[in-house]
């Protein structure tokens, strides 16, 4: 255990999920707190950064286990009693057009509840064990919708511990995009990246006086000019010797609210991009989404169409800087990152989502060639600076990591 080898006195504990997207502010927070990660794999990563840290599962013992299993069993019994009612309500609300499994929820609902109840009860028991041993100063999450992070936030709120949501990315659901769990936040405070994100969560019902704009800590690295390659350097490193370069940002299927035509849209978008690359005699850099997507599909498509290109989930700054224009499948946050790095962008629209700013350029696949050309010709337009500021208030200087740490310390006194 990292703590056992560290002679420094204990600090108050700050709970974090431990997702790498938030690691930019771990070091700053570790100067004030002992970090305790929900995800045990984060401990090794933190150790590699020479950070003092704990993992919540270090507080797993036989008492916590027995308590959790007993609680979960009692909850599952209630679910059995309610299964018929739930199944009936679900079927009625879905008007017979739902997936067939939803018409027989009583056959699986209680087991599904048991699984979740065990996970939450164990998490709660470990948090209780931790609270018995150490003072918990607060909880900072990159999202509070998934079961484990939401469970941790709700446990803290139930115990009077401050909770802070630092969204890992802006969500571009349109106001008319229908209900979606991403509009919800359960934390006491939201540290928003910019005006857009503040307004997004305020529209979702979060008290606006509990939203502080601090910029996007995830994007701070893009402002380290000395670490960012020039266009020429990026093309040299990527071994691209061509006048025209397009970067295509792939996406992944977010299944918490399926809209549009899913995989068919992605196939259409890829096909349109490949067609455009041939029309422009361009090299195509496919920057696939770090969360998912099958790179083999891209590889197969490029091979079958004899399209010169590169496929990568990494090297974002090189992929963007090497490109004349970036085209995203949907309103991806990579468009903001591209604007910060000076590369104009466009995106292929999808149902329910859009940027709230006039930029980036956007269209369906039918007029993608015109849209991409308009975007490429807009390089250097000052409007891109306004766009970047709208989504990242720290633009053009960066420095959001420090502001995040300052605000957390202020709120977790």
């Amino acid at each position: 255990m990292a703590e056992a080898n560290n002679p420094k006195p204990n600090k108050r504990v700050l709970l974090l999920p431990g997702h790498p997207v938030a690691q930019g502010y771990w070091r700053g927070l570790a100067e004030h707190y002992d970090l305790c990660f929900l995800y045990p794999q984060a401990l090794e990563y933190a150790a590699s950064l020479s950070l003092r840290a704990l993992a919540l599962n270090q507080f797993h013992n036989s008492d916590a286990q027995e308590s959790a299993l007993n609680t979960a069993a009692q909850i599952a019994a209630k679910a059995v009693q309610n299964a018929q009612v739930i199944s009936g309500r679900l079927t009625a609300s879905l008007d017979g057009s739902a997936p067939s499994e939803f018409n027989s929820a009583q056959d699986w609902w209680p087991g599904y509840v048991l699984q979740h109840a065990q996970a939450l009860a164990l998490q709660s028991a470990m948090l209780t064990q931790l609270a018995g041993a150490r003072e918990i100063a607060g909880c900072v999450v990159h999202e509070d919708v998934a079961p484990d992070t939401r469970g941790m936030v709700l446990w803290c709120k139930a115990h009077g511990i401050p909770t802070i949501h630092v969204p890992h990315a802006a969500c571009h659901l349109r106001p008319d995009g229908g209900p979606d769990i991403h509009r919800e936040s359960r934390s006491d405070w939201i540290l928003a990246s910019g005006v857009y994100e503040r307004d997004f969560y305020a529209a979702g019902g979060h008290p606006v006086d509990r939203i502080a704009i601090i910029g996007s800590p995830q994007m701070d690295g893009l402002y380290a000019d000395e670490a960012m390659p020039s266009k020429a350097e990026a093309r040299r490193v990527l071994d691209i010797d061509n006048d025209r370069v397009i970067c295509y940002a792939g996406t992944w299927t977010q299944t918490t609210a399926i809209r549009g035509r899913g995989v068919f849209e992605m196939d259409e978008g890829l096909h349109a991009i490949i067609t455009l690359a041939h029309e422009w005699e361009a090299v195509l850099i496919v920057k696939s989404h770090p969360n998912g997507g099958d790179d083999k599909v891209f590889e197969k498509a490029l091979r079958q169409t004899n399209t010169p290109g590169i496929i990568t989930k990494h090297y974002l700054s090189y992929a963007i800087r090497a490109s004349d224009v970036l085209i995203a499948q949907g309103p991806s946050n990579i468009c903001v990152e591209a604007a910060i790095l000076g590369t104009p962008s466009a995106y292929i629209q999808t149902e329910g989502f859009d940027y709230s700013h006039a930029l980036p350029f956007r269209s369906g696949v039918d007029r993608l060639g015109v849209t991409a050309l308009e975007a490429m010709d807009s390089r250097g337009d000052p409007a891109w600076q306004d766009f970047a500021r709208f989504y990242n208030a720290a633009h053009p200087d960066g420095g959001s990591v420090d502001k995040t740490v300052e605000k957390v310390v202020e709120l977790c006194r």
């Binding site: 609680t71 879905l94 919708v145 446990w155 139930a158 068919f264």
Partner: protein, 63 residues
């Protein structure tokens, strides 16, 4: 027949109102609220699977 967006909305409201309303509490935490994301995720996965199993997906992938 409901559209996918309408189905999403119906599942969302079911998860928001009825699952939470069951009062499945663990240490003052509403289990239904914690499960909500996964209920939506599973629903979406099932809808996605149905969409892909109707044949259009395979055709699209082999173009």
């Amino acid at each position: 027949m409901k559209t996918k967006a309408q189905l999403n909305e119906a599942v969302y409201h079911t998860a928001s109102e009825w699952f939470v309303g069951l009062g499945l509490m663990i240490d003052d935490i509403e289990l239904g609220d914690v499960m909500k994301y996964d209920v939506l995720r599973v629903s979406g996965r099932l809808m996605e699977r149905e969409q892909q199993s109707d044949g259009r997906g395979e055709q699209s992938k082999t173009e």
